[in-house]
């Protein structure tokens, strides 16, 4: 990797002061499970790294009246093991558990999971975020078995890698972003964006901002995440579905259904959400919702199977949520 300066501030204020207005010069380092790979592959060549793991304010999970606050530097393992989180957000626990290998969950942080870069193999092999050669995308006619089946009219065809993203969106979470000049809260579903060119990012975070915490409103939902992966060991989900149901008795008052690993951003399946309102979750309703969620899918040459997988993930997530086993 390219040589870099290293800073390890102890407050958000100090850290924010070190960030720059342009991507690429100063990078944030949390658990490093993605950042270091990016640097080794020279996909990131910062001249300075700002370690945020020494910032106390970024740690901790607390439950207040308004809801839950999860510090950005909380590790995936801490998140999964937290008793309150386990009780209220089985969806989040399942999403974190799915990040395979205990080593990655021990090092990787919640903030890092939301800000990680896509795993698209064209990107990771040096063909740019959008995977192009001579100005033309390599993906629609190339090896796209793991790529997007929704929101894929271009130029982005990769899938958002975050498994926590869909779960947090379904739970109505917000993220807090802090820069030297102030702070803002962004709804989780607005945090993920589809880049339109090589120089933009797949998240709304600005280069001079730090993600400091995640806020989840305290609302009783039946929630679950269901992912499909081929292997038990060290593998990425092929698709995931996170659902959160506000119930009125045994029927759904309102539903959030968000798919992961199917589009350049987590994908809110509004057709499925509408279909579910007012219904009780049965096998056939869940199946219908799965179909509705994928009604507008536009698979590429090699990934039609993901449409089927995503339907099944929605169905199984709904059944898991309804039965209380996430």
């Amino acid at each position: 990797m390219q040589a870099f300066e290293y800073a390890s501030p102890t407050t958000v204020k100090e850290a924010a002061a070190l960030l720059q207005n342009k991507w690429g010069e100063v990078d944030v380092l949390a658990g490093g499970t993605d950042q270091l790979t990016l640097m080794k592959e020279r996909l990131a060549t910062p001249s300075k790294l700002v370690n945020v793991k020494g910032i106390k304010e970024l740690g901790g999970i607390s439950a207040g009246k308004a809801g839950f606050r999860i510090g950005a530097a909380v590790t995936l393992d801490e998140l999964m093991e937290n008793a309150e989180v386990r009780k209220n957000y089985p969806s989040l626990v399942a999403a974190a558990r799915g990040v395979s290998s205990p080593q990655i969950r021990n090092m990787g942080t919640v903030g890092g999971d939301l800000c990680q870069r896509p795993r698209c193999w064209y990107y990771r092999n040096g063909f740019g975020l959008l995977g192009t050669k001579d100005g033309k995308s390599l993906i629609p006619g190339g090896e796209n078995r793991y790529h997007a089946i929704l929101g894929n009219s271009g130029p982005a065809y990769f899938v958002s890698a975050s498994s926590l993203g869909p779960a947090l969106i379904s739970l109505g979470a917000k993220v807090k972003l802090v820069s030297a000049s102030g702070s803002r809260e962004v709804a989780a579903d607005k945090f993920f964006v589809t880049p339109q060119n090589e120089n933009s990012r797949e998240i709304a975070l600005l280069p001079n901002e730090l993600l400091t915490e995640i806020l989840i409103p305290r609302e009783a939902t039946k929630n679950a995440t269901y992912e499909l992966r081929q292997k038990e060991a060290l593998d990425w989900p092929l698709v995931s579905a996170s659902v959160a149901l506000k119930m009125k008795g045994s029927t759904v008052a309102s539903a959030r259904v968000v798919l992961g690993h199917v589009a350049p951003t987590p994908w809110a399946a509004s057709q499925a959400e509408q279909l579910l309102a007012g219904k009780s979750i049965t096998e056939s309703v869940a199946e219908e919702a799965g179909k509705a969620a994928l009604a507008s899918a536009t698979p590429l040459s090699q990934n039609a199977y993901k449409v089927q997988l995503a339907r099944v993930a929605v169905k199984r997530a709904l059944l898991a949520a309804a039965s209380g086993r996430a």
């Binding site: 193999w121 092999n125 390599l138 190339g142 090896e143 038990e232 089927q308 997988l309 099944v312």
Partner: protein, 711 residues
């Protein structure tokens, strides 16, 4: 000549016992040092610049900026202007520097001009290969047309198995020091005896100048026999850097791109049979690639070699991809996949249990009785009779269970191995041979044989391997090590014992040929009261040291080792038909391999082979991009290998019996790794009622096959 034959089965104290591997603790605690662990003061790091294009001509190469970088000690051009590069990842230049990072920075400063040329990297569709496909020509036996016409049933199918890599956990490479006349070479190799000479040849030096040492290796599987360009370049870099040691290990991307592949194999197959399942005809049009040199022709039909009427053709396709190397049982995994899938499909068409079909046709194999008994044993261990159902007849729920089977054969035999047994006057024993333990347990086995022969405990043996100053012993390939080293060790230890008998016979008042070595004593045969302890016996040597050689006679192994083994594998799988995800439930592997020196190690070999086969069946595949010509998954993230949770239960059964035992020792590394993907693919077909023609059996392929059925 002394009698070298193995002690009778019932008399063995150590051979045939389930002993722990001697280096298990060293390996699991990290005390075992691999080439990649070796460090020396002042050591430098070597790196390659590799080609990003699958086919190109180098038009210019400028190393001046790299040479100027502080910390860089040597830069060498490998591909001079004009060189035509035939695959991405090919080596263009090498660098040595005081740190790995500096070496990598230097590589980035080398400027190369290319004329990019058209490439072909995919071979799965032979119609797109054009002139890059070379057909070997048809071979015909019998009258196939007639056989097909007269058959009660025929089946036609297309099958394919992709290129995969060896994926050794320890990448290829070495630490090398070229100082003055001497070269100290610490490679990761399957060939300690020969690799020094291979390096010397490239460097135009006498082989005697190269000293090779290797204690442990992190996987080879057939890909680590030669010194390779990385050995040669590291030597030059060391010399150019004043003789400092240079460590160069391929990074994972390069490892998976250029350090060897197993060829693919695709085929269009037609088979015919009578109503009772007797096979009457075989036709195959197969093709494969093993890289630019083509390569990889699976022997078809596999094992059932004597099917009466046959017509075969095979095309080798040259692609612009990293080249082939032997991969655990070269061509056999492919051959059994193509053959057993076609036979299972035929059985399904006949509504016949494939076990029956295989047994019925066992006469077309070289070892009918062995296969019949193995089919029986495997069926019993799998509970096949109870669990097997007609294809697709697996209930109404989305989760389907199924069973499949496949067959294997391999040669084995013993490689050329020499061993020296040294008995010191204080009773200490050196057993010396330049072999290597690939993780298969070679150390343990040699020690068992030596201790058994000398009538001593394992701990009495001081074993020296992994150093080319020791007596030469062959490369570990073709499952020939155990046969070779056991035989040479047996002979050397018996020869040494004879010398010891000679020295002590007089004091025991007996003739040399009346003595035996038992339980730590040299005694008159059957008379423990007429004995000397081992130590007392050795003291009689005075100042004389016994040093005796033993050599495996490859032409006439004298019953110590043999060739030719078989195996039957059965898989039990579960398929989620909603998702196409296949899970392993149980795997049964029945293998014979003659005299089994250590059943525990043998089973461990089988476990390794089965796990490797499960990866190949379910997830493993090298993925190339047609446009850029690059390997897209040259990493451990998308080059997918199974983990513990993906394996299921493995039942390894060694077919140990007096008939097999009397053949002598036969290797097992390869036969244990052959039939797994075929058995799993057949189990999936049995479960879901339709053939998934190409492996790995990923959800997309399984779902596509299911959709085809529903269409």
């Amino acid at each position: 000549m002394p009698n070298y034959s193995w002690p009778p089965m019932e008399k063995r104290r150590l051979m045939g016992k389930r002993l722990e591997r001697l280096d298990g603790l060293a390996k699991s605690t990290g005390r075992a040092k691999y080439a990649s662990d070796f460090n020396a003061p002042g050591m430098l790091f070597g790196e390659f610049l590799t080609c990003p294009h699958a086919h190109a001509r180098v038009t210019s190469i400028d190393i001046s900026e790299a040479e100027k970088l502080p910390g860089v000690t040597a830069v060498r051009i490998i591909a001079k202007p004009g060189t035509e590069i035939q695959w991405a990842g090919a080596e263009l230049a090498s660098v040595a520097a005081t740190s790995e990072d500096i070496a990598r920075d230097a590589v980035r400063k080398i400027k190369v001009g290319y004329e990019v040329l058209p490439h072909l990297v995919k071979e799965d569709d032979i119609s797109k290969a054009g002139t890059r496909a070379k057909a070997a020509g048809e071979t015909v036996t019998g009258d196939l047309e007639k056989a097909f016409q007269e058959a009660d049933v025929t089946h036609e199918g297309n099958y394919g198995i992709p290129v995969i890599t060896h994926c050794c956990l320890e990448p290829h490479g070495q630490v090398i020091e070229w100082k003055g006349k001497e070269i100290n070479y610490r490679p990761s190799t399957q060939n300690v005896t020969g690799v020094g000479g291979d390096l010397a040849k490239s460097l135009q030096l006498p082989a005697t100048d190269v000293h090779v040492k290797m204690d442990y290796i992190g996987g080879g599987f057939g890909s680590k026999f030669a010194a390779d360009l990385w050995g040669v370049e590291s030597a030059h870099l060391s010399k150019a850097s004043g003789g400092k040691p240079v460590k160069m290990l391929l990074d994972r991307r390069t490892e998976l791109t250029i350090a060897g592949v197993r060829p693919s194999a695709f085929a269009k197959i037609k088979v015919s049979a009578k109503k009772d399942g007797t096979l009457t005809g075989w036709q195959s049009d197969s093709w494969a690639t093993g890289g630019f040199g083509g390569g990889g022709s699976p022997p078809l039909p596999y094992v059932f070699i004597n099917i009466p009427n046959q017509k075969k053709n095979h095309s080798a396709i040259s692609t612009n991809t990293g080249g082939v190397r032997a991969w655990r049982a070269p061509n056999h995994q492919q051959a059994t996949y193509l053959t057993c899938c076609a036979l299972e499909d035929l059985a399904a068409k006949l509504k016949m249990d494939p076990v029956e079909l295989f047994a019925k046709n066992a006469d077309f194999t070289a070892r009918p009785e062995v296969y019949r008994s193995q089919l029986k044993k495997a069926s019993e261990l799998m509970d096949w009779g109870k669990k097997w159902h007609q294809r697709g007849d697996s209930g109404t729920g989305p989760i389907k269970r199924g069973l499949g089977l496949a067959i294997a054969t391999w040669g084995g035999g013993g490689h050329n191995s020499q061993c020296r047994a040294v008995i010191h006057p204080d009773g200490a024993i050196d057993i010396e041979l330049c072999s290597q333990d690939l993780g298969t347990g070679t150390r343990t086995i040699i020690t068992q044989v030596a201790a058994e022969t000398l009538g001593l405990p394992m701990s009495a043996i001081n074993l020296k391997i992994g150093d080319n100053s020791l007596p030469p012993s062959g490369p570990s390939g073709g499952s020939t090590t155990v046969g070779g080293v056991s035989s040479s060790t047996r002979k050397a230890t018996i020869n040494a014992l004879e010398k010891l008998y000679e020295a002590v016979a007089a004091s025991l008042g007996a003739k040399q040929e009346e003595l035996e070595a038992v339980d730590g004593r040299i005694q008159v045969k059957g008379q423990p009261d007429k004995a000397l302890t081992w130590k007392a016996a050795c003291q009689k040597l005075g100042v004389k040291v016994i040093s005796e050689m033993g050599q495996n006679d490859q032409k006439n192994p004298g019953g110590l080792n043999a060739q030719g083994v078989g195996g039957i594998n059965m898989a039990d799988v579960e398929v989620d038909t909603e998702t196409g995800i296949v899970k392993m439930k149980k795997f049964v592997a029945v293998n014979d391999c003659g005299l089994v020196v250590n059943p525990k190690l043998a089973e461990s070999q089988i476990h390794g082979g089965v796990i490797m086969g499960i990866c190949s069946a379910l997830t493993e595949e090298r993925i190339l991009d047609a446009v850029t010509g690059r390997v897209l998954n040259a990493d451990m993230e998308f080059y997918k290998l199974s983990g513990i949770g993906d394996i299921g239960e493995i039942v390894a059964y060694m077919d140990i019996s007096p008939e097999h035992d009397k053949r002598g020792i036969v290797g097992l590394g390869e036969p244990s790794a052959i039939a797994i993907p075929a058995a799993i693919a057949n189990a999936v077909a049995n479960a879901i009622g339709v053939r998934v023609p190409r492996i790995p059996l990923t959800p997309d392929r399984v779902l596509a096959a299911l959709e085809g059925r529903n269409a």
